[in-house]
């Protein structure tokens, strides 16, 4: 396309440029020119920004989808295990998986290409007064992550979370309790059998600590 000068174009011509810009049909110099042109044109910026937000929304949705574990070979076993549990747990785990991977592992944020291949999952139930796993799903071979779901009482706020790995303490982000009463951690898979998670629950100074051996 011939690049006009810096004077404002007619609306219909702007529409043609905008359409080609959004469809990535402009050459590099045309692209740069149009971006400079639109900088002080709110009616164009609005459409460009809406398109950007659409793209980002799609990208974010796809990232979460990948992280929830779409690798096919291991999916059937994980799905079978999930089916035995309450729908609430499945929903909570799915939601928080996307959340926790982002929250715990900065290297994966925004990368977009790492796929969690059906990670193993262990579930604890503090409501039964047990600190050993009540459910364990093996997940896919080669997964570098382990999902830890803990059912907890909505009445007992979580004040702090720590992990003890080979005797060394590591502070974890304070978990958010889902509306179903679950908290979820996503941790390195090799923590299994050598680490424990410790939660401080209740209200200080009468808080209590509960440990979960992974």
């Amino acid at each position: 396309m011939n690049m006009p000068g810096s004077d404002p174009m007619s609306r219909w011509l702007e529409e043609v440029w905008l359409s080609r810009y959004l469809d990535r049909e402009l050459k590099d110099d045309e692209h740069a020119w149009f971006e400079a042109y639109m900088l002080d044109k709110p009616h164009i910026l609005e459409q460009v920004d809406a398109d950007t937000r659409l793209r980002d929304g799609l990208a974010q949705a796809t990232d979460v989808s990948k992280r929830i574990g779409s690798a096919q070979p291991a999916r059937s076993s994980a799905a079978a295990g999930t089916a035995k549990r309450s729908p609430g747990l499945a929903i909570a785990a799915s939601l928080l998986l996307g959340l926790s991977i982002g929250a715990l592992i900065p290297g994966m944020r925004g990368g977009g290409t790492d796929i969690v291949a059906s990670p193993p999952r262990i579930v604890f139930d503090t409501l039964r007064g047990e600190s050993t796993a009540t459910l364990s799903e093996p997940g896919g071979a080669g997964s570098k992550l382990l999902i830890v779901d803990i059912a907890t009482s909505l009445d007992s706020p979580i004040l702090a979370a720590n992990a003890w790995i080979d005797g060394k303490q590591t502070a974890l982000p304070t978990p958010v309790v889902s509306s179903d009463g679950f908290i979820t951690f996503v941790v390195p898979a090799d923590w299994q059998r050598r680490a424990r998670i410790e939660l401080e629950m209740g209200i200080r100074p009468k808080s209590s600590k509960v440990s979960f051996q992974l």
Binding site: S19, A32, M38, L39, R53, T62, L95, L104, P175, P188
Partner: protein, 204 residues
């Protein structure tokens, strides 16, 4: 701030040559006019090019326009008509510098061997992350609810895989002449679904 609101705040045009001369003469009001006129545009531009890099858009836009003002005060920008192009180039350079810096930080994290060291708290608030995860799930479900499978495919290939028009046309057996109509229709349908679900990309 909502995108539409910030765009609506943009003031009417003032001749750029006159604006540049007033800034050079030390007119503070002219500086404010320049900032108001270009701030929304710089933000939109940065958001568009930032992609998945988490960038503090507002801070970066302030930096960009602050540096441009500095040049105008010194009289270093002689052709005021070229000001938009200068601002755009400055914004892109600043963004690329920021992306390089973030990449370097990410690589330094990667170089730490232990998985334990990856458990570093991020700046994101857990509630914001939860909200983002919830929205992402909704968007994914809505995308899957698009009645025409080809719309889904076109949107994913175009926006997520950034495939060329030729590649998409070849893969989906679309006439090249019809591509623009197809992508436009897919975009419109998806935007309508998002809007009905209260997730309009226009009003975030």
């Amino acid at each position: 701030m909502a995108a539409n609101a910030e765009l609506a705040d943009a003031p009417p045009d003032v001749d750029l040559t006159e604006l540049a001369a007033r800034i050079r003469a030390g007119d503070g009001a002219a500086e404010s006019q320049l900032m108001s006129r270009f701030m929304a545009g710089v933000r939109v531009l940065l958001r568009r090019h930032a992609g998945r890099t988490p960038i503090a858009i507002d801070d970066l836009a302030q930096d960009v326009l602050g540096a441009v003002l500095e040049q105008l005060r010194k009289g270093s920008i002689r052709d005021a008509a070229a000001l938009p192009a200068y601002i755009r180039t400055s914004a892109m350079h600043r963004l690329h510098a920021e992306q390089r810096a973030q990449k370097a930080v990410a690589q330094s994290h990667e170089s730490i061997d232990t998985e334990d060291a990856r458990l570093v708290a991020t700046n994101a608030h857990p509630a914001d992350e939860l909200d983002a995860a919830r929205k992402a799930r909704q968007v994914r479900e809505l995308l899957n609810s698009l009645p025409v499978a080809r719309d889904r495919e076109v949107l994913q290939r175009f926006y997520l895989n950034e495939e060329s028009c030729e590649s998409i046309c070849a893969a989906l057996d679309i006439e090249a002449d019809h591509f623009r109509r197809v992508i436009h229709r897919a975009r419109t349908r998806f935007r309508e679904i998002l809007t009905r679900a209260g997730l309009s990309p226009d009003n975030e």
